[in-house]
């Protein structure tokens, strides 16, 4: 009986992170000052390679691996993507619609026309919609945040 209780407590303790109200993922957040997503979107080169802390509503999460999420901006209709190394942090699908505080480095993806084509095709597949080749205009730059740590509130 005692052994069973200990085992049950052990498995219960493992489930605690799942039940926690604030879900902490990856490294601990170290910055206090919040950078507005709209500021990063307006002047991405200024923030390139810098560590930032952003706050916003989780608009979408990678449905296959939880390896990225889109965070809403303080300005309407804007967002920014937070990408993490597959498996290092896994964003849960339940994060959608919740507020996230994310710390990470601003980075740029410089894509050639072929890469942009593959990227757009991949995004269309992820979103379960038909891919329209016309949406690829040529080489492109995508600014995003390489996520280091996050708190989903």
């Amino acid at each position: 009986m005692k052994k069973t209780t200990i085992l049950l407590l052990f498995f219960f303790s493992l489930s605690l992170p799942v039940c926690a109200k604030d879900l902490m993922l990856g490294e601990k957040i170290t910055l206090n000052e919040i950078t507005k997503v709209s500021e990063i979107n307006a002047q991405p080169e200024k923030y390139l390679g810098k560590k930032v802390l952003i706050v916003g509503i989780v608009i979408d999460v990678c449905a296959a691996r939880g390896c990225w999420m889109d965070i809403s901006s303080d300005e309407p209709f804007q967002k920014i993507q937070v990408k993490v190394v597959d498996g290092e942090i896994i964003f849960p699908l339940e994060a959608r619609g919740r507020t996230a505080r994310v710390e990470g480095m601003v980075e740029v993806l410089e894509l050639s026309r072929e890469q942009a084509y593959r990227y757009a095709k991949h995004k269309a597949e992820e979103q379960g919609r038909e891919f329209d080749p016309a949406e690829v205009k040529g080489p492109t730059k995508i600014y995003r945040i390489r996520g280091l740590g996050a708190v989903i509130e």
Binding site: P17, I57, A64, P76, F77, R96, G97
Partner: protein
Amino acid sequence: MKWRKLNYKLHRDIGYLCIGMTLIYAVSGVAVNHISHQFNPSYTIEKAVTSIEPVVSNKEPDLSLVRDILAQLEETGKFKSVVMISPGAMRIFIEGKTIDVELTSGKVSQEKVARRPILYEVNYLHLNKPKGIWTYIADVYAVLLGLMALTGFLMIHGRAKKRGYILTGVGLMVPLFYLVCSL
């Protein structure tokens, strides 16, 4: 105690210890092996398309509009938040559900997400989502599996010796052959 007897006992007891973890990793292993954009091993994702009355008002979308849309959809789930993703598109988040509304056409795309019972939990452990102490528990399990293989190999002797070597060889050749063919 002879070393063969000790080896046998080690293999047996490590085997007992590994039963639970092996079942967890085996079930989850098959599930996560098939991850794709069409299959999430931890969640069921149901999509549905419906429609509501198109929103023709010129005023800024507000919470009363959200309430009206949810009422039309007979949605009673717990409201989380709402975001305007473009001037004519609203995304409403309900507990376990994401609702995309095209305001001018009234087209509604709903995505219902729910944890797969058992699979969510075993994948949670297999993919090391808890991190922390679970990382070390999984490391110990990996070492124990290595010991199982080693003590298993040392058990090859006697009448079944030939069969033991052949089966061990087959087990080693399968990944090696695959690597040679695919690299």
